[in-house]
Symmetry: C2
DNA sequence: TTTGACTCCGTAGTCAGGTACGGAAGTAAG
DNA sequence: CTTACTTCCGTACCTGACTACGGAGTCAAA
């Protein structure tokens, strides 16, 4: 582990994590990112852990977790609420698995669609798209909750 | 195909699609759901196709597509822009596939977590959660766009 | 030691995706 | 024909996740 980038300012941190200062502050307000102590009347500094945390938040979000859920996932980190953590992780696992299942269904449908759609010269022959409806509408019995 | 439920009112449609009247109207405003002609001074009626469309919208949304994207997917339906449609579907497919990959990574991590987290009596022993960071933070190079 | 960029912090605005409200008009049951 | 329930349509409001703004303080290079 390189100790190179220790003590970044929030601006540098933002660049490192490919996000914006205001977004980081927003996460801090929401308790997702720690607000480091600031040296008397000085400026707060951040390290690589903050970068990693921001990456994690962005990844989890991209995968469809809300910031609230991300917060829960992040609680698993401290290792102090092991039982809770396991329960939470099990829940998330269920979540993740049904998302995967749903996406795989969509993958199959889209793949099928792309496969059939070899009708470059005859638009009339491209009606299989209708399967988008039927294939998917019976997919998730009970989306989310 | 049963022709049973022809000519539902918007309220019935909402129930059938397990959604709300106002949501349907919102989709109509966004052009995702057709507004049928109304008989002079009467009330608009909807059929099974509308139900299917609403199911589709909800499924696609649940899978992480925005209403704007859902709109694009729905354009595939008329079969008149076959090339465009295929391109669009290919894009979505790429999207879907990387989401699946990301979620599978998360699944593995969570599964591992749940497996290791057999430390009901010793919280200190639960530090593997850190893998959430490292496993995921190098996952999607370029989330969304 | 001044200047320009950056930080801090609070508050306000934005955008997506709904959700709620309210009055007028349609409709169905008794 | 009245009463109760819907529909219609417009506008306003709400939540989540940012994004922008402004004034005061900090810091580092010239």
């Amino acid at each position: 582990m390189p100790e190179a980038t220790k003590s970044m300012t929030i601006g540098t941190l933002a660049k490192m994590a490919d996000t914006h200062v205001e977004t980081i502050r927003y996460y801090q307000r929401r308790g997702l990112v720690e607000v480091p102590d600031k040296p008397f009347g000085g400026i707060r500094r951040y390290d690589e852990k903050a970068v990693a945390r921001l990456h994690f938040i962005r990844s989890a979000q991209w995968l469809g977790f809300s910031l609230e859920e991300v917060g829960e996932l992040l609680k698993l980190e401290d290792g102090t609420h092991c039982d809770e953590a396991r329960t939470l992780a099990e829940h998330k696992l269920g979540d993740v698995r049904s998302k995967i299942a749903g996406l795989q269904k969509m993958e199959a449908t889209l793949d099928d669609l792309v496969g059939r759609c070899r009708c470059s010269r005859d638009p009339q022959r491209c009606p299989m798209i209708h399967s988008l409806y039927t294939d998917l509408s019976d997919a998730p019995e009970n989306p989310d909750t």
